[in-house]
Symmetry: C3
Subunit: 379 residues, 3 copies
């Protein structure tokens, strides 16, 4: 009798403060953002509240996807998990494409890759490694993913080389969108299709022919909470989808005006702020596992998410841009994005090659993120 109420109360509190539950503390920002948008409040305050409001909706979406995946058996489940893992970023990017903010979309793609490799993996290794000599993880799986990431980045660079040598040059970081010539648009579509084929092959590899490599046996402690039913999962996924969509539209609608009045470039907002917001939930989970010395999961979340952005989200958005917005989005990144992503991917390879990490490696990754963030600030 008395046990029920305190236990429930205790549960909620513990859940909210646990690795999985804290984003829900930000739920109040969802209605606040909606009200402020309807009241035509200042763009800055709308931007901040909707950015905070995205975080719990993205967390709910991630959770619902995981639960559905857990109920679907390893094949379909893995597919769901991997493919819907970046749904919030995709939804934000879709609304930005619709607003014509192509350069913000590309900045947020690169920002997600940088954030996952440098900020998430850096924080996980730094915090997880503080009181430990070193932390170990399976280097074979990490190396496969790092290679995937590298190859994807090569593909993402090719159209830029084309424009540098042959065309009109890279986009300026302060551009809103650049209407490139037909050749580089065709090239971008071709590259996108090759990336998606590689992505599907990667799913076959990780979910079918080499699934043992990517799905080590986990103890029950890896499950953060009680499992959900399929019905609950689907309903929650639908709610989360709608909520992410509403928050994203409000967020994207306020970016240009808000960045102006804060004094930051839309490029900085896209590459740092939007990227952090869109990945906030995963960030927390990676650190959560690192503290518990489960670096396999932690590293996999970090570089796995980065690889998904490059191999799935980026090409899907190129194809979507054929139908949404005024003109197709060419996969031509600006100089900052190219420099940063190449260096970050080379670092990722180097860091995961050994299969171990220390707090100092984490700190170095964070230092590189700080250097890049500082550079982007002056753009």
């Amino acid at each position: 009798m008395t046990a029920g109420v305190p236990e429930n109360g205790f549960d909620l509190r513990r859940f909210l403060l646990s690795g999985n539950g804290w984003p829900y503390l930000l739920v109040p920002f969802i209605p606040i953002a909606v009200v402020l948008e309807l009241a035509h409040a200042s763009a800055t305050i709308i931007f901040i509240t909707s950015a905070l409001g995205v975080i719990p909706t993205a967390a709910l979406m991630g959770r619902a996807t995981e639960e559905l995946a857990a109920r679907s058996g390893p094949g379909i489940g893995g597919f769901l998990n991997v493919t819907f893992g970046n749904a919030p970023e995709l939804i934000i990017a879709f609304f930005a494409l619709n607003e014509g903010l192509q350069e913000v979309v590309k900045a947020s793609l690169i920002g997600s890759i940088l954030g996952n490799i440098l900020l998430v993996m850096g924080a996980a290794m730094f915090i997880g490694g503080r009181k430990r000599e070193r932390q170990k993880f399976d280097r074979t799986a990490a190396n496969v993913t790092a290679l995937m990431l590298f190859l994807a980045v090569v593909a993402m660079i090719a159209p830029a080389i084309f424009e540098l040598v042959q065309g009109t040059g890279l986009p300026r970081p302060d551009a809103k969108a650049v209407d490139y010539d037909a050749d580089v648009e065709k090239l971008s579509v071709g590259v996108a299709i090759i990336l998606l084929i590689t992505y599907v092959a990667g799913l076959v590899f990780s979910l079918r022919t080499h699934k043992d490599l990517f799905n080590p046996a986990h103890g029950p402690e890896d499950h953060l909470a009680e499992p959900w039913s399929v019905r609950k999962s689907v309903i929650m996924l639908a709610i989360a989808g709608v909520a992410v969509g509403v928050m994203s539209e409000i967020l994207v609608g306020s970016i240009t005006e808000a960045s102006e009045s804060i004094g930051l470039s839309p490029f900085f907002v896209g590459v740092i702020v939007v990227a952090i917001v869109g990945n906030a939930a995963e960030h927390w989970v990676a650190i959560y596992f690192a503290v518990r010395d489960k670096m396999d999961l932690s590293v996999n979340i970090a570089i796995g998410s980065a690889a998904q952005i490059a191999l799935f989200a980026a090409p899907v958005l190129v194809l979507v841009s054929l139908f949404v917005g005024d003109f197709p989005m060419a996969l031509v990144f600006n100089g900052f994005e190219l420099g940063a992503v190449v260096l970050a991917v080379l670092i990722a390879q180097q860091v995961v090659a050994e299969g171990e990490s220390t707090w100092f490696e984490g700190l170095q990754l964070l230092a590189v993120y700080a250097v890049l963030g500082l550079t982007f600030y002056f753009v």
Copy 2:
């Protein structure tokens, strides 16, 4: 009695369809190309037939070199094998230099490196790994070769950095030949000499001081057919040399006109088509060994050939260009070539570092080749 004829007939058929023999199916294209050339047929048809005709002559040359090497003892034999291994590419390039097609020569050098790393190694790992969990190879030897390749590429980049910072910039991909200033020509010759010294040191290393590393004991099954006598080998080498020369001259003479009427740039023809034709025989052998799970040989053929192009063929052609053609060929590559070769070499290092491969790694290499090919197509 009856056994003799069928056995001979069977042998020939099996030989033609085996890993070693299939190129000889293309022998009829040799006389066809010669006749068409004499009849002044259209450049496109001459180009296609002579390209197909190069393949069996290159295969014969490779075979004769190997046989001679097998009869010469490990020291001289290894030297013959390694140094004559790229004779067909060198002969094609010689005729192209003579025609003044310096940019086609450079494109085919880069194309050979890309083709060996991405297409040959990719196809070998993909096809060889299809029904296997993973394939292993000796990573020490592979890493030495990958480092050699990387250092060679650094040397090949230095004159380009010089031109970018100090001089007149990189050549346009649609240029036929660029007459660079005296400084960069001297620099090219200096770099070529350093590369050749390193190459000779590499021969001493692999054939003398560390020969165990590069010459693992092979079973008899590695020999594809009956050994030849020295006399037969020398005669065959002479025949092959003449045939390669004739085919190359016809091929090179038709490149400019043929590429125009097919609608491809001479750059694309050089970097993709000529490179594939010149290496076709090695390509097949690498796949042949991969399917038989002899990845040591397969990887060594792929990255070893790439290293030889960079350390031997490229510098020899720079020195030859001092005497052949209107003006010396500076070792300055265009933006596509530089970007592609740096990325390919970084990938090669990453792929061989582990000493194992899977079908997915092969597929990723092929995907990068496809992306680069697509990019070059739009040049």
Copy 3:
């Protein structure tokens, strides 16, 4: 009686010709340089004598620091050793900043990194590996340092990317100093502070939390000579400091005129000559240990010095330049410096990844140094 004098005489001779003592053979050049400077002799002869005079003063400084460190216990001692290790380079650079030779300062920073990675490590591996199958070293420590170096280089590139995309471009190699805009100066200071924080964290890592990794137990044979008292060490350090300062001022004062009359660019003098002179003592020690098959120490001296230049000397000089010279030194390197340092660091990673070396690896590093030196010669 008779024993005393011969023994002393023998000792001195053996010491002068040993790994540690040979630089003192150059002591006579110190007074010669001073006299020539006072006599206003030709700049070329002043440059050569003061360059030779720097070597023994730098060697004495290194020795005194080591002796003081050995007396101070591992924590403070390691700090002293690591931080004063590059004092001569810093002193030379200070005088060059004071003369307004900012581009020579940056060239000598990059030259030190290149020299340590390619020339020192190359010579050590080549000479040490000549009569050995292979030499082994601890790859974990080497990889940590290589990563540090790579991350530092990323930080050193960021302002250049900023200038390339957003600003006025990279400095010309023949510039004396470039007064950049305020944004990139602020960015340089920010990057410098991040690098110094990382450097301090690296000291904590290598001297406190992970000291076993970097301080393997050494036998007594690693000590080159009898230990000094604290008093002697401090006095020697003071003498060395003054002497390095005097020599550096004379050296720097003659660079511009001397390079003109020798026919070399100040850039070449900074990136090759000054860098070799400033590091001559360490160079010798690294080879000394390599010959004795102590590759751990040898590799650590080479890439550890390079990392210190990047993480400590470069940012300190950026901060010092706020107070010395006409305008602050922006951390923007020219195209040669950027290209060379990125390639050298990628090679360093590759070479140390395996934890073993051969003479051929050493030769390849030397070949790359020769290629870069040749390229710089034509600037």
